[in-house]
Symmetry: C2
Subunit: 195 residues, 2 copies
């Protein structure tokens, strides 16, 4: 145990995913996760505050990448298109790690406690994307509204992607939802149709 462990956090996450899938989230203890990963509980708690957090390993990195995507998007794009582009780029990771991502999705979907944590992570993501849009000069309430709407597309696309029997790409789901959204809100705003 005393030797240097490369990517202890990643090993702990893999072990947790295995055990949560095998025995259920509620039934699994941190001690079991650490044991499966060949590490100590102490090491676990150096990386993760609790039993939930291990499933959100990498979520700060994902947030930073989405924010970078917003920061770096071409200036001429509309705000929602900027967010769409940023989440599509992240989607490439989901597609490349489909087995991992769908397994994680199922574990989170089965536990109200984990869904709560997911909601909190999502709120922090909305906040960060709103800040990034404001840095691009988008004013409120447009920035807030676009961040919320973009992250709604992000979450719903993820849910649909994770259970898609045809295994279409994440970006395909994002585009489908965006197309639907255009119809929804044009009507909601009570704008006269051009025809």
């Amino acid at each position: 145990m005393a030797r240097w462990q490369p990517d202890a956090a990643g090993r702990l996450q893999a072990a947790a995913l295995d055990l949560y899938a095998e025995n259920g989230y509620d039934e699994t203890t941190v001690a079991q996760i650490a044991e499966r990963a060949g590490l100590t509980e102490r090491t676990y708690f150096r990386h993760f505050a609790d039993k939930r957090e291990v499933l959100f390993h990498g979520s700060e990195q994902m947030r930073d990448e989405i924010v970078a995507g917003v920061d770096e998007a071409p200036a001429e794009l509309e705000p929602l298109e900027v967010v769409a582009l940023a989440i599509e780029q992240i989607g490439a990771f989901f597609d490349e790690h489909r087995a991992h991502s769908t397994r994680r999705y199922r574990i989170v979907a089965a536990s109200p406690e984990l869904q709560e944590r997911e909601l909190i992570k999502r709120a922090s993501l909305v906040h960060a994307v709103g800040d990034a849009l404001r840095r691009r000069g988008v004013a409120d309430p447009l920035a807030e509204l676009t961040a919320e709407t973009g992250l709604t597309v992000f979450s719903l696309a993820y849910r649909r992607w994770a259970v898609d029997p045809e295994q279409r790409s994440y970006a395909t789901h994002v585009r489908e939802l965006l197309a639907q959204l255009g119809g929804v809100t044009a009507a909601g705003a009570g704008q006269p149709s051009p025809g």
Copy 2:
């Protein structure tokens, strides 16, 4: 204490709002809330599971009223317009109880713990509104997307309404956001502009 208490829950909520505003949420105990309301801790826990829940008194009723608003909306309305109508109807309550609602808003906004609970309540509201839309024959993903979008408008309108120096009505904020949203998503969907 043994005598019959009309609306104990309402009195506990009023006492909690007072104490949270005076001394802060973290510093206030259930014992203090019960004492201020002239009730026992035991009575408190008969009504509310914990220190947070007292601030969400009435949220099930609000959810049921929003759902009823969706159920009863005219058949010819577009889905987002249905949700908009339902939340505007609820907004009349906010306008009538502006002092209470804005005080509650400030307390929740100052506490991450309370914001978490608010997120969870909102997720349950999204779920209920999605179900109501599906009962109207709206298919997924349109129903999910509309429920999420409608509740985003609900929350953002509430936040803007609560700090509006001009004290405009809640429905005014809802309409402003819906108008903005029409512009956001028309661009996001990549539809060519009519002009």
